[in-house]
Amino acid sequence: MKRYLLHRLLLFLPTLLGSLTLVFFLIHLVPGDPVEVMLGETASSVDKGALRRELGLDLPLWTQYLRFLTALAQGDLGRSLYEQGGVAELILIRFPATLELTLAAMGVALFIAFPLGIMAAVKKNSWMDRSSLIFSLLGLAMPNFWLGPLLMIVFSIGLGWLPVSGRGGLAHFILPSLTLGMTMAAILIRMVRSSLLETIHEDYIQTARAKGLSEWRVWLKHALRNSLLSVITIVGLQFGALLAGSIITETIFAWPGIGRLTIQAIQTRDYPLAQGCVLVISTTYLVVNLLTDMLYRLVDPRIRYGR
């Protein structure tokens, strides 16, 4: 196990460095001069030169890259061109809102997926199975940039039950988390169903039945527990997708998280802020994937000792 963890970590580091490099060069390729963005096109060349020197933009790109990595190692993501304060502080302020939304979306997805997936497996080929399949297919086909406005039209504008946008109490969470969690729910329904149906034919399930356990107990206690493994993997991998999906959901519902901040930074050409946001989202995505992989091996002893 230790060997595996070390191997996985060793693979993780070059990938992380590669992604940091890509982000750095991408942001430096964005057309437009950040100095001109900050000072305006009419600023004198002396002022522009001074600011360029102050920001280190007069240095060769390679030197700027090394400085960027050094600063990053010290937790310094630079300063926003427009907002007051450093990029790291701005992101730290917004990150909890995104995390809250992502976790709420995951909760919604699990809440929808487990009952529907279990029902579909237990009542295979019944109307319940078919309904959950249709629900899952629709969930996959509905992009969140349409589902969000649609939910708003029905529940906020039409029925007036829920707030249209913003972050606040529990009611503010419902529509954004439903919008963000729907795709994950759709994927999980099929996953729960298929893993349950695979597990239900195992020998130990027949033994449980032979012992006289009730059918529900067999499904929920024995089959479900053992099919959770594949579901954990999907949940972990989808967490990263939720984080990225929050960019659109936060834009729709004016949710003050890092996703919305990313779009605002790109639209206003605030390069350091955009760079910081992309870095934080992609690093979180990488770390969550790494943790999922490790958790997967911790949960299943067959994988742990299998190598």
Partner: protein
Amino acid sequence: MGDKTFLFTGLTILILLSGLALAAPVIAPYSPTQQNLEQDLLTSSKEHPLGTDKLGRDMLSRVLYGARISVWVGISTVSVSLLIGFLIGSLSGYFGGWIDQLLMRLVDVLMAFPGILLAIAFTAVLGPGLNHVILALCLIGWTSYARLVRGEIIAIREREFIHAAQALGGSPTRIVLLHMLPNLFSPLLIQATFGMAAAIIAEGSLSFLGLGVQPPTPSWGSMLNEGRQFLLVAPHLTTFPGLAIMITVLGLNFVGDGLRDKLEKKGK
């Protein structure tokens, strides 16, 4: 639903959609960019079955022309990504060694980003516009094909018929194209179908965020973005483009699922 039902329903949706996209200049009642400010935000009527938008443009015409954008984005993104992915995956899988290590690390780095985030970053660099969106989607889309091709090639490169072809003096290009490609056809076809659905949603997302297709060109994503400001007074502005995306993606997913079931059964 069986695989045949899936395939049939999906193919029917896709044929209809492609037909509507191709015939848009003939069947659309108005030009998609023709403004009529006196008739803005109208609901459904005989003259405008899907209503009009904030500039009085006919929504039916815009939705029909929007289909052309989506079909084009889907086909071009998948074709180019498939070509790049096939080339890189073949090189990686056939030759192995340091070429494989180098190319797969590049794939790892690109796959370390959530797709939409990287697409947003690429369009920020390239600037908005249809061709830039397609380019951005290709830059991230090829990686999954490369991994698939590499895996399949590694699985078959030690088979006897490949050794026989090598012994007969076949060049790597000939062996890959003539002997390996037919074995890759089924998984690539399935992947391409789902890839097309993903590309259409990604284009919609970018246009919705204002980074993709720019007005007045009618893309379903940008129409949704424009309609969002009028949710209270004109919900039809978001309903129809959204419905169009959903039906298209549903059709592609049906075909993908149907093909997978059919080809997997055949494989067994």
